[in-house]
């Protein structure tokens, strides 16, 4: 089947055989000579190859590939995540090396557990699963953002009585103003009384905290009663209450916009925060103690977060199981220094 005739080889057939992978070495050599003979030949050949290739791309490039690549490229180029509104321009740093990008889409799923009852004193419980946040308006007009792995219980008659709610986990409250009827957030570790303000309460465990963004609240915790002003943050640490002034509100409150901000936080602080929100526990290499990290997360799932972490810090993250199952069963992730 040699198509190189002595006088008149059929170039079109040879090109077809070449594309089909059937060309002999002689034919390829001949084709190469033909291509080099004139710019027009070269142009014709490559155009035909364009056509041939476009009819069957060697592999598919999916939107998912493009998204992944975008994050990699932005991280490698050191491009900061897109900032918006309140969120300051922050960049992921580890020892000034790398940066990390954010998922453009923030996946929030909302999960309600409503317990209806017939009695006038019935209570409603709003709760969220791991990895999810939700937002709700209470009957009195107060708006609540509930962080992951949290629940909020309130009376259906919240408008008639004192406005008491019970919180486990974390929530941000924008309290409807009503000076005569204080709004009280009860948690096992801390309680907050407000009349019309905006504040965040973190009460996943005994190291609870309250952060005030607007107005004024009274917070009680660890046997102390403190009046907080905007920008003040009350933290209970090992049973002791401390108040910090002029804190970066986004660090404590931006989660309701799906953003988690860590700034010079220890790996233990970061992992503890992730444990509150995701169904995961961390086993941290003691060699990493004392290292601090700065980064922001925006809607990434656990396995993405671990990938970003490995990308930006000299660590490996090994999980006990499939991270996508983390909603159903608690996973353990071991973080080791490389």
């Amino acid at each position: 089947m040699n198509h190189i005739g002595k006088d008149n080889p059929n170039i079109n057939i040879i090109i077809a055989r070449y594309f089909g992978g059937d060309a002999t070495p002689d034919e390829i050599a001949w084709l190469r000579d033909w291509i080099e003979q004139s710019p027009k030949n070269k142009k014709d050949f490559f155009e035909q190859q364009d056509i041939w290739e476009a009819l069957l791309p060697s592999f598919d490039v999916t939107d998912n590939d493009t998204e992944k690549a975008e994050r990699r490229v932005l991280a490698k180029a050191g491009i900061k995540p897109r900032s918006s509104g309140l969120v300051k321009k922050l960049i992921v740093f580890w020892s000034k090396i790398a940066a990390v990008a954010i998922l453009p889409l923030l996946a929030i799923t909302v999960y309600f557990l409503v317990r209806p009852g017939n009695t006038p004193e019935s209570y409603v419980t709003l709760s969220t699963d791991y990895g999810c946040t939700s937002k709700a308006a209470l009957p009195d007009g107060t708006v609540v953002w509930l962080n992951a792995n949290s629940s909020l219980e309130y009376s259906r008659n919240i408008t008639d009585n004192t406005r008491d709610v019970n919180l486990r986990g974390e929530a941000y409250f924008s309290v409807k103003a009503d000076a005569a009827n204080p709004f009280v957030v009860n948690t096992p570790y801390i309680s907050v009384t407000a009349t019309g303000t905006e504040f965040n309460v973190n009460a996943y465990d005994s190291d609870a905290s309250v952060t005030l963004s607007e107005g004024k609240v009274e917070a009680t915790g660890a046997g102390k009663r403190v009046a907080l002003l905007p920008g003040e943050h009350l933290a209970i640490l090992d049973g002791h209450a401390t108040v910090s002034k002029g804190v970066d509100l986004d660090r404590y409150c931006a989660w309701r916009n799906g953003v988690l901000i860590f700034e010079n936080d220890s790996i233990h602080t970061i992992c503890r925060r992730l444990e509150q929100i995701y169904n995961v526990s961390f086993d941290i290499d003691p060699a990493l103690a004392g290292q601090t990290f700065r980064f922001i997360l925006k809607g990434e799932n656990l396995s993405e977060i671990m990938n970003l972490f490995e990308l930006t810090a000299p660590v490996t993250c090994v999980s006990s199981g499939n991270l996508t199952d983390a909603v159903n069963s608690r996973q353990t992730i071991r973080i080791k220094r490389i």
Partner: protein, 195 residues
């Protein structure tokens, strides 16, 4: 800023020089998949192609301050990808004839002479529909079902020679049909570069 429309390369380049992430992301989304498919022409491995194209984008960002305002982003990216692919081939020292051929000629081809996948795909359907049905069937068996010519010959009960002739006819026909489309693309590209 995020919703700002970047109408053409000139604006995109200007925005890039001012460190606009939005411009960079927009360029990335517009060209990434296309360039990976384009790179597949020289390198048969998907992850290598992706690495090359990602590296090209990183270079665009790194060199953004040095870009001339009349740079065609498209041509710049294609030439970056070509050069990176060539380096990769030299590095790999792959001695397949298929790649050898491109290896030698790839650099002499101007970026504007290449068509990207998305630029071609629109014109395909009409061109394909104009093909004789037996020619089209042969082409599809080869390209979509990935059959070898000998397998197609068996299936259609024709000679391999006939298969080759039909494939050749199909390519030539598509080539001629797409010329008009291609010259249109050239006009658009040149017009963009003038802005």
């Amino acid at each position: 800023m995020a919703n700002e429309e970047f109408k053409n390369d000139a604006l995109l380049v200007a925005a890039l020089k001012y460190d606009s992430h939005e411009a960079f992301v927009k360029i990335f989304r517009q060209y990434y998949a296309n360039l990976v498919r384009f790179t597949a022409r020289f390198i048969p491995d998907k992850s290598t192609c992706e690495d090359i194209v990602q590296e090209a984008f990183i270079r665009v960002w790194t060199n953004r301050k040095k870009l001339e305002t009349d740079t065609s982003i498209r041509s710049y990216l294609i030439s970056l990808v070509q050069n990176l692919a060539l380096n990769e081939l030299r590095h790999q020292k792959v001695k397949k004839s298929y790649q050898d051929m491109n290896h030698e000629t790839i650099l002499s081809l101007s970026p504007d002479e290449h068509l990207l996948y998305s630029e071609l795909s629109d014109a395909y359907e009409t061109a394909l529909s104009k093909l004789d049905s037996d020619v089209r069937e042969t082409l599809m068996l080869s390209r979509q079902e990935k059959l070898k010519y000998s397998e197609i010959a068996q299936r259609l009960n024709i000679s391999v020679r006939t298969v080759e002739a039909r494939i050749s006819k199909a390519i030539k026909f598509l080539h001629q049909n797409l010329q008009i489309y291609k010259s249109l693309i050239f006009i658009i590209l040149s017009a963009r570069n003038l802005l």
